[in-house]
């Protein structure tokens, strides 16, 4: 069953010219470009299928949450989008072109962060610019700006091991912001963070999305997190992974995450998602 209907007028185009009014529209639009499209995608190790017959249409400029039981193959889907592994069948495209090699249009925040242990926060955040040979002063200024944006001002000289899990997530996000990726892939990025920090980080993701309007593909097994963040939630089946249900959510443009979790809408969504998910857990 698919709830995300195609062909509806798009409320969420790529551009940022959209009004940011209080929960103005439902962001159901899919008619504009797709950031990622999968049709009949398969992946497996030998005889063992991990992903089977996966169909996805991820609209550009939305937060798309992939929700599923642990070990169902969610990360595998992200890895295929990132181009670190190749599908064994089907078509997978990013902005219309097939993903054949490492996908340079995505920035991938893996479960374990990929910060460099010997670099301080400033140089970790500035890495994408350093690779593009941006002069030191300039890239440090830019890095300070994004560190400030994610709430890490004053931690320039700290190395990753001196930061808490939540701070490392913020630093990873800061680094991603200095990259040129059009899509952020996030694989349970806040799984190892305490509940309060997680709430603040989720709000940060929404705020960053509001500012950048980039496509964010967010993998989680946390129902509330899915509801809090997503414009659209795909509930995956147990392995082999397939989309069981795609559920649109009223966009989080003006959403205060902590409040939203308590609303009737959120409670209703929880019920819908849980019904879909529970069937997959019992087997």
């Amino acid at each position: 069953m698919r709830l995300g209907q195609r062909g509806e007028p798009s409320a969420l185009q790529l551009g940022a010219e959209r009004p940011q009014g209080a929960g103005a529209e439902n962001s159901l639009g899919t008619s504009s470009g797709h950031a990622v499209e999968a049709s009949g995608v398969e992946f497996g190790y030998g005889e063992l299928p991990v992903v089977s017959n996966l169909d996805l249409k991820i609209p550009a400029g939305e937060i798309y949450v992939i929700l599923g039981p642990s070990g169902c193959g969610k990360s595998t889907v992200l890895n295929m989008i990132a181009g670190t592994i190749k599908p064994t069948g089907g078509d997978l495209t990013c902005f219309g072109s097939p993903i054949t090699d490492l996908n340079r249009r995505v920035s991938y925040m893996t479960q374990r962060d990929t910060l460099l242990a010997w670099r301080n926060s400033l140089d970790n955040a500035a890495l994408p610019l350093e690779i593009k040979h941006v002069p030191k002063q300039e890239r440090h200024d830019a890095a300070r700006h994004v560190l400030n944006r994610v709430g890490l001002n004053g931690f320039d000289d700290y190395r990753p091991h001196q930061l808490s899990g939540g701070m490392r997530s913020r630093l990873s996000l800061a680094r991603a912001l200095l990259g040129e990726a059009d899509i952020f892939l996030m694989d349970e990025p806040f799984a190892a963070v305490d509940a309060l920090s997680r709430l603040k980080l989720q709000q940060l993701v929404v705020d960053v999305w509001l500012e950048t309007r980039k496509t964010i593909i967010y993998v989680t097994h946390d129902l509330y997190e899915a509801i809090a963040l997503g414009h659209r939630i795909a509930v995956m089946t147990a392995r082999p992974a397939r989309v069981r249900l795609e559920q649109p959510v009223e966009g989080p443009e003006s959403r205060d995450i902590a409040d939203f979790k308590g609303t009737d809408t959120a409670q209703h969504l929880y019920g819908v998602l849980w019904n879909a998910l529970a069937g997959e857990l019992g087997e």
């Binding site: 670190t84 460099l116 242990a117 010997w118 994408p128 190395r159 091991h161 001196q162």
Partner: protein, 285 residues
Amino acid sequence: MSQTSGTVPKPLGQPAARGRRQVSRKARKKDRDLLAVIGWRVLLVAIFCALWQLAPDGVVPESAVGRPSSVASSFWSLLKSGALPTALGSTLLSVVYAMIIGAVLGIALGIFSSMPVGRWLLGPAISLLYAIPKVGLIAVFVILLGVERSSHVALVVSAVLFVYFYAIRQGIEEANEDQLNALRGMGAGRLTVLRKLILPSAVPQLLGATRIALPLALTSEIFAELREPSIAGLGTLLADSSQSLNGAAASAVLIVTVLIAYGLDIVLNSRVKGFTELTGTGLQV
């Protein structure tokens, strides 16, 4: 550890000051512990020397190893004549040359052999070369390079090169694949990945390799000097003293060698610790 037992309970308050006092007390205790350890070690060495000096002739082969008193006087005369400083300088010079050349060559070969072409070309060759007993090569190097320092250096290079080769190979194999993909995703080419990720993350392996390679280099160099003593070094002094049946002088040279190797190891170890503290390696979960 109860620090207040047996004393009048002190009023609480000023917890910060109390904390600081506890820390400094801890630090002082640590200093005391360290002093005790050093004291014990010095005592052990003294006991060892005393036994060496005083044991009856049948127990200590005096002609081969001397006695501490004769070792000390041999050391003094070797120092005063300038033979020991010259030999030490010469040996260390060869070792330094060889360590630099060996490290650069080993790392370069290791990187090259991690690429598909390199693995195909070099894989079996390196394994075969590694199996050669390196000391046997001294004859070849003397024929090739003559009775020069270069033949000694070549021998030492042939020994330490492999240590660096396998260390960098391990470093490359253990490089974090997610980090690698992240850098490549940012548009980093091969050289950038090497400079910004592979080499820095291999630093612990390379420092470890240096700790292994240095004593190996010293040993190989001294062997080369024993075998081919025309380039004077610690090995030459050893050869001389054994030829003149001067066990005390041989012991003096060996003790100097051991102390040099030990000192270098302490320096290297502090570098390893410095890097560990910098990156939190071993602390990060």
